[in-house]
Every structure is written in C-alpha cells, then in structure tokens.
C-alpha cells in the first residue's frame, strides 16, 4: 500500500470534509452562545482534538501509514506537555509576584469600535 501511494475512495474525504465543517460550526457556537468556565474550555479542547484528529488521520493519511512512522511523528510532540506545565507554573508565579509588589491592575479597558 505505502509503496504504491495513498489511494482511497473519494467518499471518505467528503465525509471528513463535512464533519470538519460541522465540528467547526460547533466550536464557533461555543463562542456565539457565550458558554463560560469549564464547560467552555472542555468543549473547545474536545472540538479542537476532533478536528486535529480528522485532519491528521484521514487528510494526511496517517491512519494508513506504518506504525513506525506514526510513532516517530506523533510521540515527540507529547513532551510539549512538560513545557506547558513548567510555563504555567512560571506564569502563575509571575502573576502573583506582580500582584504582591505592584498591586491589583487599575487598567480601564475601552470597548472596540466597529
């Protein structure tokens, strides 16, 4: 299969194409309906990973590649989770230090004009 190229029925691409539109619409709705808090964040992440999964697996043909290539490409990005963890801690520390030494923000935001 891999030697002669990735040839698959057109129907599967059309299905995934349609699904991407639907999921994108849902993720836009998260903002449009002004959902807040953990519901908002978890829905954003669910829709994001669904879309990313469809694109990588079907459009980029990762589903049909050999396991060695799948692992070589998909496993390394997992280490980014460590960076996210470290930087979140660092960010919180900076935030608390700013509040401690400079006090609460007195910034008055203006609304954007359209």
């Amino acid at each position: 299969m891999a030697q002669e190229g990735q040839q698959h029925p057109i129907a599967i691409y059309l299905w995934i194409w349609g699904l991407l539109f639907v999921v994108s619409f849902f993720s836009y709705m998260v903002d449009y309906l002004q959902l807040q808090g953990y519901l908002r964040w978890s829905l954003i992440l669910i829709f994001m990973f669904l879309k990313a999964g469809f694109i990588i697996a079907i459009f980029m043909h990762m589903k049909w590649e050999r396991l060695a290539l799948q692992l070589a490409i998909l496993v390394p990005p997992v280490v980014i989770l460590v960076l996210i963890g470290l930087m979140a801690l660092e960010g919180e520390y900076t935030f608390l230090t700013r509040i401690e030494f400079f006090g609460e923000s007195d910034f008055v935001p203006s609304t954007p004009h359209h």
Partner: protein, 230 residues
C-alpha cells in the same frame, strides 16, 4: 591512512563525506515511504515545535499579566450593517481554510488517479482559497492596527501582551499560508506541464505538498481554539 578501511564482510568502504553518509545510513531505510514524504513529515514535526513555542509563550504571558485580557470575541466582531456579530471574521477564515483542505485532499486523490487536469484545477482552487485567507488576514491586521490601535507593546482594550502574541502567532501562520500558496502553484503548474511525466509519472509530490497544506490548516485549528476561543 595507508590502506582502505574494510567492512566485516570484506568490502572496501568509501572515504570522506560519502563514507559518513554510508556509515550513518548503514544502507538501511527506516520508513517505507518516499524519502520526500518522510522529510516533509520530519519538517512538519519541527514546525510543530515552533508553533508550540509561540502558543506556550502566549499562554505564559496571558497567565502572568495582571491587566485584563481583551475580550477577543468583541475585538474580532464585525458588523454588516446591523449589530456586530462576535468573531464572525475568524469563523469565515476558518471555513475558507477547511474548504481549501478539502480541495487539497481531492487534488491528492486525483493525482494518484493521474487525472492531471483535475489535479491542476483542484490545486489552483486550493491556492486561491489560501490567498483569500491571507487577504482576510491582511484586512484583520489593518482593522486592528488602524481602527483599534493595537500595537505589539500595547492596546486600549486590555493587556499589552495581546498585541505581541497576536502579531507573532497569526503573522507566522500567515507566512506559512503565503509560502504554501506559492508552493502549491509551482507544483500545480508542473503537473499541468507534464513535468512529472518525464520523471516516471509519479504524483507523490502532490501528496507531499498536500501534507504541508493540511499542516497549515492543522495549526489554524490550534490557533483558533487557544487564541480566539479561549
């Protein structure tokens, strides 16, 4: 070195750079895909880390600022005569990019079917949608810089870090889309001219270009989620 180095089986090994390449490769192929595809995947992996660095630094500055973050939903709202619709411009850009991903997937499929005409037109359509995306991004930047006064060092709507994160992340993504449009057009015209016919009629190049294009769409999925929706 008086005599040529020999392998265990007794064959003479080449010297110099050729020897380095042969020794490291050991004459083995690790991934059973065309080398261009393997290299594209490895390039995309490195690009993943670059975009991750941008998004993680955006997270860091957003957590650490004491000023309120601008209400992204309002900043990117657009009015078509009536009340402004929140985030509508970004939603349209998302749909444009997804549409282009679909046409690209079809182009790859037609490429393997050796339907050169359809491949060419589908790739041109993909590039046109990509150019539309970049055009909308230029409009968005202009609106933010001129009308809303957003600068990399500050803006009237909230934390100063908003501007630098926005310009850096969307700018780098826009650059990738622009490069992709040129790349797709080059491959598309080569498909049309029969350039690949002279090379054994192999259209894997369309799939490799497609990998790059889908990656650009993939990065947008993450930017949309973390920068625009969060």
């Amino acid at each position: 070195m008086s005599e040529a180095a020999m392998s265990a089986s007794g064959e003479v090994l080449p010297e110099g750079t050729k020897g380095v390449v042969q020794d490291f490769a050991s004459d083995k192929q690790a991934f059973h895909v065309p080398w261009g595809k393997a290299m594209m995947w490895i390039f995309l992996l490195s690009d993943t880390f670059i975009f991750s660095c941008f998004l993680v630094s955006y997270m860091t500055v957003r957590i650490s600022t004491a000023d309120p973050w601008p209400v992204v939903s309002d900043v990117f709202a657009l009015s078509f005569g009536g009340d402004p619709i929140p985030l509508i411009l970004i939603a349209i850009m998302t749909f444009v990019l997804i549409t282009s991903s679909g046409t690209m997937a079809m182009a790859v499929n037609m490429g393997y079917r050796k339907d050169r005409k359809k491949t060419f037109w589908l790739m041109v359509a993909t590039a046109a949608l990509g150019a539309t995306f970049v055009g909308m991004q230029a409009f968005e930047w202009t609106k933010l810089i001129v009308d809303e006064g957003v600068r990399p060092w500050g803006n009237p709507m909230g934390a100063a870090q908003f501007g630098s994160s926005f310009f850096m992340i969307t700018g780098f993504h826009g650059l990738h889309v622009s490069a992709g449009v040129i790349y797709l057009l080059v491959v598309a015209f080569r498909v049309k001219n029969g350039f690949y016919e002279k090379r054994g009629g192999n259209y894997e190049i369309v799939e490799i270009a497609g990998l790059y294009w889908h990656f650009v769409d993939l990065v947008w999925v993450f930017i949309f989620a973390f920068f625009y929706l969060w």
